[in-house]
Assembly symmetry: C2
Homo-oligomer: 199 residues x 2
């Protein structure tokens, strides 16, 4: 603690946000791989003890930050945010834009860190992430139902294929990461997603 006296000990949400922000800045600077509780504590001007009490690993912290940020960015679950825009192409563009906005707002490094841990920790994380995958499948089912209701001819595909829009955004953000603009998203829709889903 730098300042002694009254009003020097933060709690609850104020402290949390300070830790979140410090963590995000640190990840941008040193990367997820080099992220340490020690540095987070320094940056957030708190104590390592506080961090260890709440999170076992930096991954647990990151996960919490994502959840916090997602609700802030989207303002609610993804499935409530998709709309019937009048065409499958428009709906897919809207979906990709929404999902992409998460990567931009939450920060690539953090989103990719999650993806990486999914590839490493076979057991404990899968529960959380399988859940996320299932939610994404439901989003796509709803989106394709819009198209069917409009009379568009939709192919019957497996659940695994329904995750394709999300997978594409993930790959884009790992490999390309810069210049993922509307034009790029349109290319994904026109060259990949529409041929896959539209009969």
């Amino acid at each position: 603690m730098k300042v002694t006296g009254r009003n020097t000990r933060r709690r609850g949400d104020i402290l949390n946000e300070s830790i979140y922000n410090a963590t995000i800045e640190l990840i941008k600077k040193v990367g997820y791989h080099n992220l340490t509780f020690q540095q987070i504590a320094n940056a957030a001007e708190t104590s390592r003890t506080v961090l260890y009490r709440r999170w076992k690993t930096t991954y647990d912290l990151i996960r919490e930050i994502i959840e916090y940020k997602v609700t802030n960015v989207l303002g609610g679950p993804l499935i409530d945010k998709i709309e019937d825009t009048g065409s499958l192409r428009g709906d897919l563009m809207h979906l990709l834009s929404l999902y992409q906005s998460l990567y931009v707002e939450v920060d690539h490094e953090i989103m990719n860190a999650i993806l990486f841990e999914m590839g490493q920790n076979k057991d404990k994380i899968s529960e959380i992430e399988i859940n996320a995958t299932n939610k994404n499948i439901l989003v796509m089912r709803k989106l394709l139902q819009f198209a069917k209701n409009r009379g568009e001819k939709i192919k019957e595909v497996s659940d695994a294929t329904l995750t394709l829009p999300f997978d594409l955004i993930r790959v884009e953000n790992i490999l390309r990461k810069d210049g993922i603009d509307t034009k790029r998203l349109e290319l994904l829709v026109d060259e990949i997603l529409l041929p896959v889903f539209l009969a």
Copy 2:
């Protein structure tokens, strides 16, 4: 060193392979994130000094292991291994099988570690990896040329879309990782790749 006397100091390839194998085993055990030079040195029964002399980071070591393994598994560059099987479907299946075999033989963790670093280290790695991406594009061009020569109608797509087969295998190995069998690869070909590339 455990044993003193003659023939106790390994060099060159024998030492290298010992280090490679120890690293692979360690990654399987503790994951890339927790991989340390110290543990590698112990497991390979060598000295940390030896490791630091040759590799600056565990990532550099991993990268070398992949190159070593790839030539062992495939027996040469990927572009020389694809064949005209008589149909685009057959060619794509063959390509996916080859690329998937890398993940199985080299170990998921290591392949994913590379992917993760690609997402983190924007600068230095991109040169290597952009190169790899370009090679993959050439592979797909060659494969699609087989199809054109046979008279199959092939869509004109952007280069970024040509990396789709590789991207799909990557995603599979991050998220699903178990049960990526022939049936799964067939689904990728029939539901995604053929609709994208075949007119």
